[in-house]
Symmetry: C2
Subunit: 481 residues, 2 copies
């Protein structure tokens, strides 16, 4: 991925805290940030409370539905991970009325705890949706909050979809305004911006007034979640779930007139000042209601780091076109950006999680299985002698001139025949989005072994039919066992 | 208050993010922070899990008990504020098993929600305890968490007091390490550092292993609460409560082996890098177990900003010594630091809350009532003609040469007699701490009208006897109606 956000930051971008002293010996208070261009928190509150389902363009409704379907698949798929089991064991003794289902599971919790657990579940495999401009995973903090809420307060599929889109829009626009400074400071942006998405979406479904919505966003601003240092621990997926839970909490409090500062995003001593060194508020306000970040959501076809995707895509294409089997292959050479080896350079992975950081494993399973879903990162597959054998035949040549979204794969067969494939944009990128059929295949693969096949099929149909649903909460019931 | 922390930051203070570009157009990733001197998170985890009640010096045990008593008084006193009512209305529909009492109230909630609500209640009047070096209000995030927990898992008063001290120690030492940079960035330090106090204390009572305690601190690091912009809204007191709830959540998760990064405080992309520009880790590690920040806690005698306290103290002293009544007084002149007027300069307050920002009101009630507790900031008192009349006879002369903790009060009586009083350190300061009797009077005043007098007396006795209590949770029952 070679997203360059610098060009997106206009010349009006405000710089926070520029010129401040940074030595502890000469510490002085930070100068106040430049005046914001507009009351951002209240502009967002007005937009969110006023926006109607009827105003959503067809492509945005469609992408919102795909976002929901993909979220449901990963939430079901992650639902029996040790991380989820531990969270449920810790918190279920304190759960309230068990109104809300946990996707993929048989237990139910109160809606606040369910928002947390479903959010954790949906992020565990790092296989959820991605807003590429900010690396926010938008659905976790939003869908987890409002699906739980919809089991407490019935809501139509149309209203649910509208709230989902507005939540994604809110978190991604705020993310755009502070990216990359905020991310570079060390914040896990899915949690630290996601909380606004959860609050906006839940607040929309609660019918908050404009004033209450500003309070909800203010309450969200005081509860950012997530440090990047947690990557590799269970707390990474906690961030997505806690953002959903905090956002829902903020909306519930605001609905009871629990007040917060209504300039909490942009004001002095507010969220942006505390959590970023630079901000461009035009990213929040420009084109609100006409240009949709929610339409730019993407879905991973492969359950591993995105820089490995072009190589896997090439492997699967060549396998399919040539009906390749592992025993036909003599050598494999991948020509790719150096980031591929620095992020995914493990040559001899021993367990599934290590396989996700091995481009060798990823290309090998692409060639053998024609897939690199969560299933291909199970421990048994990583240890399979056929996979191990093919992995060792793979060489990676790195070249900084190759952009991260591209790569070339060359396969020499034992017959001497040479196959090559150039990938300009991998499957799952914005330029080459995952098809509906591929989303369904991903979903089915994730649900396999957790939900009966007929239930998984029915659940997918319910997700596709979200816009027509009279009761969105019924979909949550269909996602549980 | 003229605390100068610069001199406390040693030359080993690390500077985070120094030299980084701050223009949005030329944004680059922050350089990694300097290597920390030691594994801070794990040092704290080892200390917290190993520290025994028997190791606490007598003065620390006493100050911990006073901290608890003061917390109980403010939690009872704030319990029927609109802020608490709104929070309870919003969250009680989702509460779990009602195991934990809300101080001063008849309703019960699950322990996580009770920790939140009692924490809110204890901070509403801005009348709670203060660690002057950091302006952290230590008890809210700690006592609220463990008192609720003690109603789920019985614990002796000794263990409770030990956990309380360790929680206060943890949050205040972390606060010392990042103050003032962290506070100047805009963080409400009671919430952003308090979460560590809640996690440490709750984790201690849950019997976490050293490894689990490091996870609990890591989980806390991902959940800082609180922006200074919220001052003046209900969300300010939310910060204290949410810090307690987040800390308790972190400890409960860690007890079920929910993992987090064990260098979350000090590591790259960790808490200090994200939330401060400078840090001095020696403030956390030096004298751990021998020098106690918990012994430096202070308690406000007056329910208003601390810069007004010397003037009120002088007024109360002169009233008492001369048996003054309002009708005897011709003019009153206060000689004080300019901060007194910039923070508390309202000449004609109309409601109780405005009275807290009026030095004129504060000195007037000191002269009339010999007190400036929460009662003296009720709307009716602010509007009382006698109070209004005396307020208008008060002049404030400011002088930057007068330190904030000092002031001179001059009263000219109608007889022509002149009374003067110089205050070197106001009552409630570290140099002139509130006596046990004054703490009891404050408690009784806060509980009046909420708890029957006999119950308030009994509750105070239970707080004083914490160290001897066989069941700390029983004190929570005694604090409810």
């Amino acid at each position: 991925m070679s997203i360059d956000r610098r060009s997106l930051l206009g010349s009006s971008a405000a710089v926070i805290g520029a010129g401040m002293l940074t030595t502890a010996q000469a510490q002085t208070p930070a100068p106040p940030p430049p005046a914001p261009p507009a009351p951002i928190t209240q502009i967002l509150a007005r937009y969110i409370t006023g926006a109607r389902f009827e105003d959503l363009p067809a492509n945005v409704r469609k992408e919102g539905t795909r976002t929901f379907l993909n979220w449901m698949g990963v939430a079901v798929g992650g639902s029996h991970h040790e991380t989820v089991n531990n969270a449920v064991a810790a918190l279920s003794p304190f759960s309230g009325k068990p109104e809300a289902n946990l996707m993929g599971r048989g237990d139910r919790l109160d809606i606040l705890n369910a928002a947390l657990v479903n959010g954790i579940s949906s992020h565990i495999f790092d296989y959820d949706d991605t807003h590429l401009k900010t690396i926010i995973h938008p659905a976790g903090p939003v869908a987890s909050a409002i699906l739980a809420l919809s089991q407490h307060r019935p809501v139509s599929g149309r209203d649910f979809l509208n709230a989902l889109v507005l939540g994604v829009e809110t978190e991604c626009r705020i993310g755009n305004a502070v990216y990359p400074s905020h991310y570079d400071m060390g914040w896990h942006i899915t949690g630290s911006c996601g909380v606004f998405g959860g609050a906006a979406a839940a607040g929309k479904l609660l019918g908050l007034t404009e004033q209450q919505m500003a309070w909800a966003l203010g309450l969200a601003a005081s509860q950012p979640v997530g440090l990047k240092i947690q990557f590799g621990t269970m707390t990474k997926s906690f961030h997505a779930g806690r953002a959903a839970q905090n956002g829902l909490t903020a909306a519930l409090l605001a609905a009871q007139n629990y007040t917060a500062d209504v300039t909490a995003l942009e004001g002095k001593d507010g969220w942006a000042q505390d959590l970023s060194r630079a901000v461009n508020w035009a990213e929040v306000t420009e084109g609100l209601g006409t240009r949709y970040e929610a339409a730019l959501n993407t879905y991973k076809p492969f359950a591993c780091g995105i820089v490995g995707h072009p190589g896997i895509d090439a492997a699967i294409q060549l396998r399919g076109e040539n009906k390749l089997t592992a025993d036909q292959i003599d050598t494999v050479t991948l020509h790719a950006n150096p980031l591929v080896l620095s992020l995914m350079g493990k040559t001899e992975p021993q367990i599934g999680l290590e396989g996700k950081f091995s481009i060798y494993h990823c290309v090998a399973v692409g060639l053998i299985y024609g897939a690199a879903g969560e299933r291909q990162f199970q421990d048994a597959i990583v240890k399979d002698p056929v996979v191990v054998g093919l992995r060792r035949k793979i060489t990676v040549n790195t070249d900084a001139a190759v952009p991260t979204q591209k790569s070339d794969l060359t396969i020499r067969l034992k017959t001497g025949k040479v196959l090559t494939r150039h990938i300009e944009n991998a499957i799952g990128s914005l330029e080459k989005p995952l098809s509906d059929a591929a989303l369904e295949a991903k979903f089915a693969d994730l649900a396999d072994g957790i939900l009966p096949r007929t239930q998984a099929q029915k659940l997918m149909q319910l997700c596709w039919g979200l816009e027509q649903a009279s009761d969105a909460g019924a979909i949550a019931q269909a996602g549980a066992v």
